[in-house]
Amino acid sequence: MQEWAQIFLRSISLFILVWAAVRLLGKRNITQINPFNFIGYIIIAITATLMSLNLVTLFYGFIVMFVWVALPVALDYLAIKSKVMHELINGKEAVLIKHGKVMEENLLSVRMTGEDLLAKLRSKNAFNMTDVEFAVMETNGEINPYLKSHKKPVTSYDLGRKVAPQAEPQTVALDGNMLEEPLASLGLTPEWLNSELDKMGVALENVFLGQVDSSGDLYLDLFDDAVELPQPKVKEMLYATLEKSQADLVTFAFQTENKEAKAMYSKNSQRLEDLLNKLRPYLLH
């Protein structure tokens, strides 16, 4: 056989072999591998190159490949089974900042300068050293800061406010086409979408994007951006209506001279007020 044909065939078979070997090594993202995995990948790559160029015999090449695939897999397995092995293989995370103070010895042991630390913290949006309570370097070299509690982003929990749970929205129209499957998963029919579009006075061909949120309201984006669409304000309107009714009941309670009616009006206005408090997170957000 011609030499070029030999190299061609070897390359193809090694391509498949290396692909299988890398799949065997596991599903890690290249940014998440530790230095040792990295060396393993490089050795497999170099061996494959040498084998396909006929610089080492196939048999020797296979031995090298086998060792560099089998050992990492075995080590991974051990790391899952035992915590000691895990630390030995993957290393241990290093605490770089504790109680707001930089741990200089640990910084030295991971060979980082103060500048490096500041740069890494900045990339995590911690520009001010005083904001960081705790920071740790993970085994893959990433630095994760934990901010002081008064510098953390405010959540609804901090504000003591209840918020309505929201499921993911479903896209029901795209590029002027109706998407039947998401519609069906919401328990809606194409007729429903057509009638909603009719209500807004929009043709389906004009819709670039249509989404249904978890409360069943439809949001549209049109190809023609000059057209102003009324965004659904049904919930806000509902809240306003109930609020107005509540105010009316209070007025009635004041106006009437009938004792029984007065009691009825104030009881119901109280009821409506409680209801409004309960509905507020669901209707106004």
Partner: protein, 68 residues
């Protein structure tokens, strides 16, 4: 405007709100939210009942404005 017609107006807007609540209590996907809407629906229902009863009495007291 008489008292009866004022009550009638409030009753009408409450009934409108009840309709919207009914729509949301069926089309909302989240279980918890749906139960809140259903509860609100029942609550408005009792309020509407009370107001309707009051309206009957009012119309009996001032029959000349009946139907306004």
């Amino acid at each position: 405007m008489t008292v009866a017609s004022q009550v009638k107006q409030t009753l009408a807007s409450l009934k409108g709100a009840q309709g919207t609540l009914r729509v949301y209590s069926t089309q909302t996907r989240d279980e918890e939210t749906r139960s809140v809407f259903t509860e609100a629906l029942e609550e408005t229902h009792t309020i509407i009942k009370d107001l309707e009863n009051r309206l009957k009495t009012l119309e009996f007291e001032e029959p000349q404005y009946k139907g306004n």
